[in-house]
């Protein structure tokens, strides 16, 4: 196979090029760290994109201008799995990132989140100012592993025009809600739904929130409690008053025709659904895609007086991965992001609730319609969060499937939730 094309000098050169090219390919990505003098560069990888990313970039710019020690580089990377795999290696690709409250327990138990207690102290972050229901999710084994920048609560939204037409007042009890649903559900001659009394933005969040509203609990210290009486009652209530009212097949047909969530074709925004249980981010998107819609928000009806103002709180969190090489600097930036002015600027853009309760009365949120109803719910003693535990992801998948069976009329509430109990045995610990 030897030929003069590979004469010695040439072949050596070519070989060297091949090896160099290979080395460059394999080594790419393992670029070196910062230098010893000069500012430290840290990387902030966030899941947000679009307008949220824009406001974040302007916040990062403000931070970089405010001091000379740290340079923050922001990267929008909406892929959660990429985020996770980066944390599994010894050299991570970012120093600070964001996620959701329900993942904190799972990740903290695996040692990928850096404990923040010492930084909370050194950066003097006042935890008492944060919404208690949200802070609960941030802890694992008594230590804090993440902090919320924005929080969310669920309330009952209603279409004022449709309620007026049907002569219905915003409901305050579960019986009134059931009654309103019946009056607001309209079917045509062939039995097809043309207007639905209550829709669900997402069956899992709607029904877990209702579980809290019926006095249920989705877990306790020993783990998941899917068959807690309050939960069963809530799911059963939904089946009787929403699903059986129109028939499961009919409901599925209706759902199949729903437009993209939060778009102008969203069933609540287009007036096909009279009421919906959803979060405060609706306020921001309603003014964008459905400016003509006349809508209101009220607290989720109480199943009994002591359950008034029940809601579910979820949160968007910031954390520092264990494999970050610049944790101190990341903590400084973290504290900056959580400072009242920055948090206000950020949460306002998303139409989210600020995690600090002291900001809830801020005039800045005044322009968001009906915002105060969601804001008030945050400090309610009946505001609860789903536990953030190692098993959270599996549990929520199984609950979703169980709810799906109920909504499809394939199973009763009790049977479906019993099935979840049988699944819990194999959960990650």
């Amino acid at each position: 196979m030897k030929n003069s094309f590979f004469s010695t000098a040439r072949s050596r050169r070519l070989g060297a090029v091949a090896i160099a090219a290979t080395a460059a390919l394999t080594l790419a990505g393992c670029s070196g760290g910062g230098n010893s003098d000069g500012p430290t560069t840290i990387k902030f990888s966030y899941l947000w994109s679009g307008p949220e990313a824009e406001v974040l970039e302007s916040i990062i710019e403000d931070f970089n201008d405010s001091q000379d020690d740290i340079v923050v580089k922001g990267v929008s990377s909406p892929d959660q799995q990429k985020q996770l795999t980066s944390m599994s290696s010894s050299n991570g690709s970012f120093d600070i990132s964001d996620n959701f409250g329900e993942n904190v327990g799972s990740w903290a138990s695996k040692g990928v989140l850096a404990p923040l207690d010492e930084y909370i102290e050194s950066e003097s972050i006042d935890l008492d100012d944060f919404a208690p229901a949200a802070l609960e999710q941030m802890k694992h084994d008594g230590q804090t592993y993440a902090l919320p920048i924005a929080v969310h609560s669920f309330q009952l939204l209603y279409n004022k025009t449709l309620l007026d037409e049907a002569g219905v007042e915003p409901p305050t009890t579960m019986d009134e809600l059931a009654d309103a649903i019946e009056k607001l559900t309209i079917t045509d001659d062939s039995g097809k739904i043309t207007q639905l009394g209550i829709g669900d933005a997402n069956t899992t969040t709607t029904l877990t929130t209702l579980g809290f509203a019926f006095g249920g609990a989705w877990s306790d210290d020993d783990g998941p409690t899917p068959t807690d009486p309050g939960n069963v009652e809530a799911v059963d209530w939904w089946q009787k008053n929403v699903v059986e009212l129109v028939g499961a097949d009919n409901l599925a047909d209706f759902k199949a025709g729903e437009g993209q969530y939060l778009s102008a074709e969203d069933s609540f925004f287009s007036g096909k659904v009279a009421m919906i249980i959803d979060g405060e981010w609706r306020a921001a998107s309603a003014s964008e895609v459905a400016p003509d819609l006349d809508w209101g928000v009220t607290a989720i009806p109480a199943a009994s007086p002591k359950l008034e103002n029940s809601t579910q709180v979820t949160s968007s969190t910031l954390f520092i991965p264990t494999n970050s090489k610049h944790k101190d600097e990341a903590a400084t930036f973290l504290a900056y992001l959580l400072s009242p002015e920055v948090m206000e600027k950020f949460s306002l853009t998303l139409g989210n609730l600020p995690a600090r309760t002291s900001l809830l009365d801020s005039d800045a949120y005044k322009d968001l319609p009906n915002f105060e109803v969601w804001a008030n719910a945050l400090t309610s003693p009946n505001a609860q969060s789903l536990a953030s535990a190692p098993y959270s992801a599996e549990y929520s998948t199984d609950l979703g499937n169980a709810f799906d069976d109920v909504v499809r009329g394939k199973s009763t509430a009790e049977k479906a939730l019993d099935y979840v109990t049988s699944r819990t045995k194999s959960y990650a610990k």
Binding site: K2, G15, A18, K110, D253, G257, E265, A393, R408, A428
Partner: protein, 321 residues
């Protein structure tokens, strides 16, 4: 090649003259060869061999991706036997394969015949048929989600022209699998192009001879085209089958309710084996269980492929034999 043959006498002369040098030059060209092959060798060892061996080991452990794995023996495999979601995902995947593979082969072969007919604008049609294959699967998936919507989508609107009320494609458990197959078939152009190449190789005289003997189009297909392209069909069936057994992107995109949410469609009807494997690995962080699932899928794939290969003796014709 021509350069090589032309220079050969010269090269031979050279080596004969410097006989002692021969092993050294040979060794050197060996290493040059290795250097050029190194991107593949490094890639193969790092991206295939190591992960395969590692997953074999992980399948016997409890491993969460972050902490060191704990040996648990056959626990993962036992858990699989008792996990009804596992069985559901396997059943879903097999149903998709049984529906999808014959359809893909039939449409690709039929389409290739059409693309092979000499008509005006033929290259244009070929390009159109192949076009969907170059669109990223995720983009195509999102496009189809919208096309399949019962209220706003075009598919049911199109069906209504013929007085047909279209089903709730993505909401009725019975219709989600046809929907997935439909979206996969959208990219059938790739398979069709391979068939087209195979059809071009069918000797024209055979068709002419068959025509003279009075064979119609169907006879000609059955007795000329089909036997001639049957080795290609064997290849297509196996490739297509493996693709269906590993199907992930189309059902994942069609089932997804919100970004980063875990969805498996109504009644988990869109949860395929690869999706459940992925959920276990990267959402539930049960890498050990996911590895065990990967090995089971490998064995299932191997068995199915061997069955197809064994059956091929009955229906594949090789021209020279």
């Amino acid at each position: 090649m021509s350069m090589l043959t032309r220079r050969r006498p010269e090269a031979r002369a050279q080596t004969r003259a410097g006989a002692p040098k021969r092993p050294r030059t040979r060794r050197r060209s060996f290493w040059i060869g290795v250097a050029f092959a190194s991107p593949f060798i490094i890639g193969f060892l790092g991206l295939f061999a190591y992960p395969i061996l590692a997953s074999g080991y992980y399948s016997f452990t409890d491993f969460n991706l972050f902490q060191s794995p704990d040996w648990v023996g056959l626990d993962n495999y036992e858990q699989m036997a008792n996990d009804d979601v596992f069985w559901k995902s396997l059943a879903n995947t097999l149903v998709l394969a049984v529906m999808g593979v014959p359809l893909t082969i039939a449409i690709a072969l039929g389409g290739a015949h059409l693309l092979n007919t000499p008509i005006k604008g033929q290259p244009l049609y070929r390009a159109f048929i192949y076009l969907p294959s170059i669109i990223p699967v995720v983009v195509g998936g999102y496009l189809w989600r919208w096309l399949l919507n019962t209220q706003y989508g075009f598919v049911n609107y199109f069906l209504s022209w013929f007085g047909i009320t279209g089903p709730s494609w993505l909401q009725e458990p019975d219709w989600t699998k046809p929907a997935i197959v439909l979206v996969v078939l959208w990219t059938v152009g790739g398979t069709m192009i391979i068939y087209l190449a195979a059809l071009k190789d069918v000797p024209h005289e055979l068709y002419e001879a068959a025509s003279i003997d009075g064979a119609g189009p169907w006879r000609r297909f059955l007795n000329v085209s089909w036997p001639t392209v049957s080795p290609v069909t064997l290849f297509q069936v196996i490739v297509c089958l493996i693709a269906y057994l590993q199907i992930f992107t189309e059902p994942y995109v069609l089932a997804q309710e919100r970004l980063n949410n875990i969805s498996s469609g109504p009644d988990q009807s869109m949860l395929t084996y690869a999706m459940y494997l992925y959920q276990n690995a990267f959402v539930y962080l049960k890498m050990g269980y996911a590895s065990a699932m990967a090995w089971v899928l490998f064995i299932v794939t191997l068995i199915v492929t061997l069955v197809v290969l064994a059956s091929s003796k009955r229906w594949v014709h090789y021209g020279s034999q």
